[in-house]
Point group: C2
């Protein structure tokens, strides 16, 4: 009832009120992409063009690890996903967790997986469906090896909870545009061409997942 | 030191590390604009095109009043604005405050001003320069009158604290594209043409303010 006459409410009668939070790191935020907010913005725009209206919130933060995300995800998403909407969370992290500082990873692989488990438990208690997008590749081959190892662990953990996981690190590591733009950029982030490629790679998983969110199915 | 080798850090030597949070309501989030995040995204892209690299975070939330913003602004901005960066906050609210529910405004004008005062005090204590963008116009003339009255009060409060304020309600109310898109939309939000117009109107104040943030001046 309080939603009546709500200027924030553009839901049309035939459309469910879908609201998605993209939560993660600088790749989620689209760092390096000047015109649009990276792959998350592209996936949301793609859904709009297909006639699936949605509200999307980009909650990517530079340098964020899984520990940082765990600290903030609940408060930030509760503020954006009111009861009654078709809510969903797209989650992505891993490049910062596997970054070396003083000789060891910022977050150990064991802790990354444990953070993911806790994230999925919390989001599950809220009743929010989750799609996890794996970490992409950077310019440093040794770092990419650690990312790929974590990617496998995250995929296995998602599989245990029947949460969809889109692995991208191997394709991005071999993708010519991504590699060139990352190399010509800061060594980690691509430009708009790389984000185009990453969004295209994520799109099938996104389309499937979003259709389920729109249909109101939470038991993904 | 911890920032060394940071994949979230694309700062080039000649460029200050500028990070801006746009905090506010659905207009800040760009609701109605399918391809890009509204006027905030346009102002950030405009700065990039002029060679002023920056990281921008869009923290607009549908239905948010000044009371909602006050509750979350500190935690959300602290997570995004690390010490050492050239941080800044663009703040915008008012249309939801002046929305009638059960015959009275969701937030009284007195409380809106008091919330603004508290917001400016908190952001000032953090040392973050602030630019306030006034609320735009909607399709309902009576609501626009309340918005215009609040706009004057917010402008006066900002002036007392020497914080720049960009009033837009009168120009948007008379702007043909804005009016048409709002009318053809949900009665509150325009499409991309309206956001183009609003961004163009805000641009001079944004350019001036951003130049000061880049220069590291916090005493705006």
């Amino acid at each position: 009832m309080a939603e009546q006459g709500n200027v924030g409410d553009i839901t049309q009668q035939a459309q469910p009120d879908v609201r998605i939070c993209f939560v993660g790191d600088s790749f989620v935020a689209g760092v390096g992409d000047e015109e649009r907010p990276g792959w998350a913005g592209r996936l949301a725009a793609h859904a709009h063009r297909r006639g699936s209206a949605l509200t999307s919130y980009n909650l990517g933060i530079r340098r964020d690890t899984s520990a940082d995300i765990l600290r903030r995800i609940q408060a930030e998403c509760v503020a954006r996903l009111p009861a009654g909407c078709h809510a969903g969370i797209v989650l992505s992290f891993g490049v910062n967790d596997t970054m070396l500082e003083a000789g060891s990873c910022r977050v150990s692989a064991e802790d990354s997986v444990s953070h993911l488990r806790e994230l999925l438990a919390r989001l599950g208690r809220q009743g929010w469906p989750v799609l996890v997008a794996g970490p992409p590749a950077v310019a440093d081959p040794a770092h990419n090896q650690r990312i790929a190892a974590l990617d496998s662990l995250l995929a296995a953990e998602c599989s245990r909870h029947a949460v969809p996981y889109a692995s991208v690190v191997h394709q991005m590591q071999g993708h010519e545009t991504w590699r060139r733009e990352v190399r010509e950029g800061d060594g980690a982030h691509p430009g708009s061409g790389g984000y185009d490629a990453l969004a295209a790679l994520l799109q099938p998983a996104w389309d499937r997942w979003l259709a389920a969110v729109r249909a109101g199915s939470t038991g993904l």
